[in-house]
């Protein structure tokens, strides 16, 4: 019989809509799996028994941030925080794996995870500085010239002057790394933004809207493909919507939420399903019952042993993710 755990009460007394009683799968399966999968060095690998990596460690830490009353979880989180801090590169960034020498998209996730635990704010600030200095490659003068002179005019439709963040240094802006960094930015600068941070926020938000697929939703970042509308995907749509929570009434947000709600009806992967529920809850939208579906999917494939998927499922079934809510700029509303 797996150990069961207590979870923290809903933050700010606010429960997610339509989630009453949906905690047992999280407590019976997801949380014990995550505890079991932690490596001796404190981090998590992508799958049970694999070596620690920044992404799965960060997602698990973000899930653990919603838990309390268990020394087992506090100990697990402490070990993971130390593992992350030991892996920060001298320039402030995090690489995907500890033996790599160059920082990448995982820097924003590591920053979010540490920030969610209220720990190591200096390290988080240093990581964010690195992100602020990391401009994607499409902004380089030679690249812009090359695009202007040689681009196939109907291949893609996007404004290259609108830049967010790339997966790896020097490559193009894409939806997900841009969204992760924007979420971190919102937490680190809840009030007034320094000018250069404000510039990056403005460009990145504009870039996300520019990359939205016609009709709503996002794919990795190609809204138009040789004149044909790009097909939205669940995961990038979720992260773009979460990063753009400051603009809930915008037509693009609403259209994308509609698309996401429709997509929920046919989703067959636990990653999409869990993340979609997290996103719809963040926008206070009903999303139907999640636990039976997740249970059914787990019975089929055991989430393919994926630590990030188990963490997302646990987040979707647990209390509100505080790291996904911040004071909306200009509205004073959480």
């Amino acid at each position: 019989m797996p150990e069961t755990f207590k979870t923290a009460p809903p933050r700010n007394g606010k429960a997610r809509p339509e989630r009453g009683g949906e905690t047992s799968f999280r407590e019976e399966i997801c949380l014990p799996f995550l505890l079991k999968a932690q490596n001796e060095d404190g981090g998590w690998g992508y799958r049970l028994g694999q070596r620690s990596a920044v992404e799965p460690t960060s997602w698990t830490l973000l899930e653990l941030a919603s838990l309390s009353d268990s020394s087992a979880f506090e100990q697990a989180a402490g070990g993971a925080i130390n593992w992350l801090l030991a892996g920060q590169l001298p320039d402030g960034s995090w690489a995907a794996y500890p033996d790599q020498k160059e920082g990448c998209w995982t820097t924003a996730l590591a920053g979010l995870a540490l920030h969610a635990h209220g720990r190591a704010q200096d390290a988080v600030a240093k990581g964010f500085e690195w992100l602020c200095d990391a401009w994607p490659g499409e902004g380089a003068l030679w690249r812009r010239l090359q695009q202007r002179l040689f681009a196939r005019s109907n291949a893609v439709r996007q404004n290259p002057s609108l830049r967010g963040w790339s997966w790896t240094p020097g490559t193009s802006s894409w939806v997900e790394p841009t969204a992760y960094t924007l979420i971190l930015l919102h937490h680190l600068y809840p009030n007034e933004l320094p000018r250069r941070v404000e510039k990056r926020r403005r460009l990145a938000e504009a870039m996300l809207y520019d990359r939205m697929c016609p009709g709503g939703g996002w794919n990795s970042g190609n809204p138009l493909d040789y004149g044909v509308a790009g097909v939205p995907l669940v995961v990038p749509t979720v992260w773009a919507l979460l990063a753009l929570q400051d603009h809930p009434a915008r037509r693009e947000n609403q259209a994308s939420l509609e698309w996401l709600a429709r997509a929920c009806e046919t989703m067959q992967g636990p990653a999409s399903l869990g993340l979609a529920h997290i996103c719809l809850a963040a926008y206070s939208r009903p999303a139907g019952s999640l636990e039976p579906t997740l249970r059914g999917l787990y019975a089929k494939n055991e989430f393919l042993g994926s630590v990030p998927v188990a963490a997302w499922a646990a987040m979707a079934l647990g209390p509100e993710c505080r790291w996904l809510s911040w004071q909306r700029r200009g509205t004073g509303q959480p």
């Binding site: 690998g45 992508y46 799958r47 694999q50 070596r51 990596a53 992404e55 799965p56 995907a96 794996y97 033996d99 790599q100 990448c104 998209w105 490659g137 196939r152 291949a155 790339s166 997966w167 790896t168 020097g170 490559t171 193009s172 894409w174 997900e176 790394p177 794919n219 990795s220 493909d225 040789y226 044909v228 097909v231 995907l233 669940v234 995961v235 989703m267 067959q268 992967g269 636990p270 990653a271 999409s272 999917l297 089929k300 494939n301 055991e302 989430f303 393919l304 042993g305 994926s306 990030p308 998927v309």
Partner: protein, 316 residues
């Protein structure tokens, strides 16, 4: 990977290639027998080995035209197990979609290969190792690659017969993009686009050269591939142990001139045979199954009669 097959040999030192074209009118056909007979004809020996089937699972595919059909993957898996493989792993690292399990469930892969937890590996996530690239076509020099790929004894590239809006075609060589892990390089693996698709294909396949290729050409895709194109029934499986020769044969079936497809032309310097006279066809002839595929206007030059400027050798 078998050492002999991963050797980089100039074409004049490489023995002639052999490519099998098998007719299969639909996915209900006895694909397992077709593949098993062909593997025996090639003398494929995998007893006691770990075989990795690198499929092409791009994303949600309600029309059944984007991804390698699970019936072909299931049949191949069964054949390699019949040949005595210790383990047969189905694997891919989708370029755009993070929810790999969602893709697999939508295409009902489980019905063809059994429980996914023990037989499928998501190459986007998991342990990786830094590998120096064996050629310097691109500026990449090294890549982190999945341990699952590096530990395999025998790698089979299993693409769909499709056009590709950047590379012209996406066949057994281009399919190897999928081994590059998203956990390191993102979704998509944009570092490869920045390095140049042709050059990156060459560096990856020279480092991890598939030992065998099985191309699902039963239902292909023409036009704006690899995702937004139009279904193109072609009714063939194309197989062989020289991935360049297999891709060249596929291109000829599609009505394209392989010498004009840049990454194939470049790959012929070190990775396999491109020229018709160096490829012995077994099974059906190219002419008997030729099905001209529509291509985007920017690739009309790939057709016989189109204007072509030639390529310089970036593997030299």
């Amino acid at each position: 990977m078998s050492v002999s097959n991963s050797q980089l040999l100039p074409s004049f030192k490489r023995p002639d290639a052999q490519v099998a074209i098998r007719r299969a009118e639909g996915y209900q056909a006895n694909l397992s027998n077709l593949i098993y007979e062909t593997l025996n004809e090639f003398g494929v020996s995998v007893r006691g080995q770990v075989v990795l089937l690198k499929a092409n699972f791009v994303g949600p595919d309600p029309r059944g035209v984007v991804n390698t059909h699970p019936a072909v993957v299931g049949a191949a898996r069964e054949c390699f197990l019949r040949l005595g493989a210790k383990e047969v792993i189905v694997a891919d690292g989708p370029a755009l979609e993070r929810d790999t399990e969602g893709i697999l469930e939508m295409m009902r892969l489980r019905e063809f290969i059994g429980p996914l937890a023990g037989s499928f590996v998501d190459l986007n996530i998991g342990d990786v190792r830094c590998v120096p690239l064996r050629t310097r076509a691109s500026s990449l020099r090294e890549l982190y690659l999945p341990e699952a790929v590096l530990r395999a004894d025998f790698i089979v590239s299993m693409p769909k017969l499709k056009t590709h809006h950047w590379a012209g075609v996406t066949l057994s060589l281009k399919n190897m993009f999928g081994i590059v892990p998203g956990s390191c390089y993102g979704w998509p693996k944009n570092i490869l686009h920045w390095a140049g698709i042709t050059r990156a294909v060459l560096d990856i396949t020279s480092t991890v050269r598939p030992d065998f290729a099985i191309v699902d050409g039963i239902l292909g895709m023409e036009g704006n591939g690899p995702i937004q194109g139009v279904p193109k029934p072609c009714g063939v499986l194309v197989m062989g142990n020289d991935p360049v020769a297999v891709d060249a044969t596929c291109a000829r079936i599609m009505g394209l001139v392989p010498e004009r497809i840049e990454h194939l032309a470049q790959a012929s310097y070190l990775l396999g045979h491109l020229r018709d006279e160096k490829i012995r066809q077994i099974g059906e002839s190219v002419a008997s199954v030729r099905t001209p595929f529509e291509v985007l206007p920017s690739f009309r030059r790939l057709r016989a009669g189109g204007r072509h400027r030639g390529h310089s050798n970036c593997l030299a």
